[in-house]
Symmetry: C2
Subunit: 474 residues, 2 copies
């Protein structure tokens, strides 16, 4: 199929759409819309629209569809793979959802809320808390990330183990399709087997199949009581055994299970010395365990009993259990500060990967060997071990900088990604494909999957206007 070249969103097109809605829908493109957190992509300025209603989004997309203008959906701008940045040079329509932040309806008795796509994730959490409920999706950028982006990238975070990814917390969607029609799929239903699941197709499509304008989100009851512990584990294999033991004991109450390597603790000491370290002597490996339990259980006691059993089994050598809410927060602060410490050190190459759970120990071992063969580096491997999702990040040794290794970045990335693929893993566990991993997707994906994705893209967006260049090459 041959696709017509994209048309500029300026002059003719701009005049046409300005005539269709109030002038203040449009705004000047400031630098923030052309940048992304890792500074890898520089966007092309075009026409910036900040619609207030789904109908305005639909009108804008219909016009872009008619004219062949690229549409770049823009949420909180926190994506880490360049999905929010068009850099191909043809001025696009940047369509920001930032004004569509309404709570459309709250159904606390159902554990459901309907929100517009521009609502910030932290605000979703607050609305839920106000009803004595929780929206469990939690990630570092939750103060800026918006619902539409979170769903479009099927975001993960620390509570996936218990509550699932973004897709598992969404019951229904409203989407403006690539031709400007509106799919009203805002169902509040838990069970609904009426045809193809378009919701799951749109979630994770990174804005290439339509623009999510509203979502029906699933809330959960707060656990009756919560507890947190650090435990020093012998090695990653012991961490997996401890995970199985924890899940067996806690009856589904394991909310998070995070693996942390000594390198992360060293980076914290180096860059953020005020962060309290849990152990006098840093262990090689440790896990952060968070549980939320039923009434009648004391989480600290349950974690102590777990520690005893794990200790007898030779899985853990040391442990600290939070004795208060503030201590829990302190424990979590350590985990949450690791990405900031990483930023301050400056990685040569970062990898958001997943492998089958049982392959984790071998992956870490083989990865470290392969990196060592490429030169002297420090590896900080940490992450959501219960999901098989590791952030495997490679740093220069002390005295060197990332600039010294710029020429090796591609080699390192390729080495890690080849290994991940070889072990049945994924080169994008939770961040998505965006523009950063389009070539990786082509390299590592099953060819039938790629053909099928392309067929779906061409069927729903025949002009290729929706977030062109993201996920699939245009």
């Amino acid at each position: 199929m041959s696709i017509a070249p994209l048309v500029s969103a300026t002059s003719d097109f701009e005049a046409k759409v300005r005539a269709l809605m109030p002038d203040d829908v449009f705004a000047t493109v400031t630098a923030s819309y052309l940048e992304e957190p890792r500074g890898r992509y520089a966007g092309t300025a075009g026409l910036l629209a900040k619609p207030r209603t789904t109908e305005q989004v639909a009108t804008l997309v219909a016009a872009a569809h008619a004219a062949g203008v690229a549409v770049i959906p823009y949420g909180g701008g926190t994506g880490l793979v360049g999905g929010q940045i068009a850099e191909d040079g043809v001025p696009p329509l940047i369509l920001s959802l930032e004004r569509m932040t309404a709570l459309r309806s709250m159904h606390a008795e159902e554990g459901v809320m309907v929100v517009e796509a521009g609502m910030i994730l932290a605000d979703v959490q607050s609305h839920a808390r106000a009803e004595g409920l929780m929206f469990p999706l939690s990630l570092a950028s939750e103060g800026s990330a918006r619902v539409g982006g979170v769903l479009s990238t099927n975001a993960g975070g620390v509570n996936v183990l218990r509550y699932g990814n973004a897709r598992d917390l969404c019951l229904g969607l409203e989407v403006v399709m690539p031709d400007g029609t509106i799919w009203n799929g805002l169902t509040r239903l838990r069970k609904n087997n009426t045809g193809y699941d378009l919701r799951h197709l749109m979630i994770g499509a990174e804005g290439t199949l339509g623009i999510i304008t509203a979502a029906c989100l699933r809330l959960h009851p707060e656990p009756a009581s919560e507890g947190t512990a650090f435990m020093a584990v012998r090695d990653p294999r012991a961490a997996l055994s401890l995970l199985a033991m924890t899940q067996k004991r806690m009856g589904g109450g394991v909310s998070a299970f995070e693996l942390i390597h000594k390198q992360g603790l060293d980076f914290l000491s180096e860059t953020l010395p005020d962060v309290r370290q849990p152990f006098a002597e840093k262990p090689e490996w440790m896990v952060l365990i968070d549980v939320g339990l039923a009434q009648g259980l004391n989480p600290a006691s349950a974690l102590e009993a777990l520690f005893s059993e794990a200790s007898e089994a030779g899985l853990v050598s040391d442990g600290v259990i939070a004795q208060s809410q503030s201590q829990r927060q302190q424990f979590w602060a350590l985990r949450e500060n690791i990405p900031e410490a990483n930023r301050r050190i400056g990685s040569v190459s970062s990898h958001d990967i997943s492998v089958p759970l049982s392959a984790i120990p071998a992956f870490i071992e083989r990865g470290n060997q392969a990196i060592a063969q490429l030169g002297s580096f420090r590896v900080n491997c940490f992450g959501h071990v219960g999901d098989g999702n590791l952030h495997y990040n490679v740093f220069p040794v002390d005295g060197k900088s990332r600039a010294d290794h710029e020429h090796q970045r591609e080699d390192i990335k390729r080495t890690v990604h080849d290994l991940v693929h070889d072990m049945g893993g994924s080169v994008s566990a939770e961040h998505g494909v965006g523009r950063l991993k389009v070539a990786d997707l082509e390299r590592y994906s099953d060819p039938v999957k790629l053909t099928t994705m392309r067929a779906i893209k061409d069927a729903l967006d025949p002009k290729g206007i929706m977030n062109p260049g993201a996920v699939l090459a245009r």
Copy 2:
């Protein structure tokens, strides 16, 4: 788009495919392949193939694709909406997965198993149990239903509240696409954001977009201890309040929460008098609660504490808590015998519907009023109230038979479905669309959803050979 008429699977086509593989792949079409449990559809005999490998499935589908022959994927034959029966008169290729029953691999330490699509659901459960794990999908037909069908229809059952539908228990798929290519998506990953989620598109597509040949299934740890109770509730609204209270107390440990109406208990007395009734006097409404809890809790005590709180709140008037494993089974036997009692009574019209949780009381009230206006009937309303999924079944009064009301069936169905739709519900909560509800889907679906489904179907199966007439009219 105009589609060529289907071609018969006999004579020419049969000769061609017989030349491609061992003769014993093919078998005589017996009656069982042309019938379905409710006896509503009579299939057209064609060519029956029982391949042993994915490659044979692929070869057969590729040949059908080239020739324009319809392919009817056949699993356990337990579907309730005619999805497994081609009745349009052109002899199809009936492709039964019954010989592909292998356990390809077990990864107990990951909570994962890879099975072929022909494995019977009860066998999946056994394999999991043998490893001290559980596959929580549980439904009446589990002794005959096969994995491919269970996934293709996104089956539900009694444990959806805690563990999700079939789609939530599947990590990866192997699918023969409509052109005979094989998509190898058998990943064991918990997190994988690499492009469009084809897995979720195939699950619930009822064989119209490809044939699932193998699946990677997610297993769960058995809860440390389990408990079951019947509680008599004031009304459906009280049942919902009790559900919220139970979830709040049990920290995610509620495995099932089933609503049962007195009518179901009366049907049991009438048709299966040996089934033990829990209460001396049958309550108007009751719930069956099943919990699986963490170590350190006694489920019977936890349920007693729940009953006390609920009693004080005026939600429940009576309760019995299982004191042993065999009593738990007895309690469940009552629930599981309700469909059999229904069959013996003989419904005029059955409805597998869902509505938003908070709409359940109003739906039951309005439904009963509407049915009463159509004549004298008995309504047995029961189901998975925690999922908003009710089986709302309409029966003749004593002394009348379903045949007496045959002429009213369509009216009754329409009345119930219109009401469901009006209340934001779904006319197919867990059974799927099949051939039975194609017109309902057209009537009640969002038009943009239908257009999008059609575009996807045409893109992936341009000749319309895959299970033609199911889900979408050909």
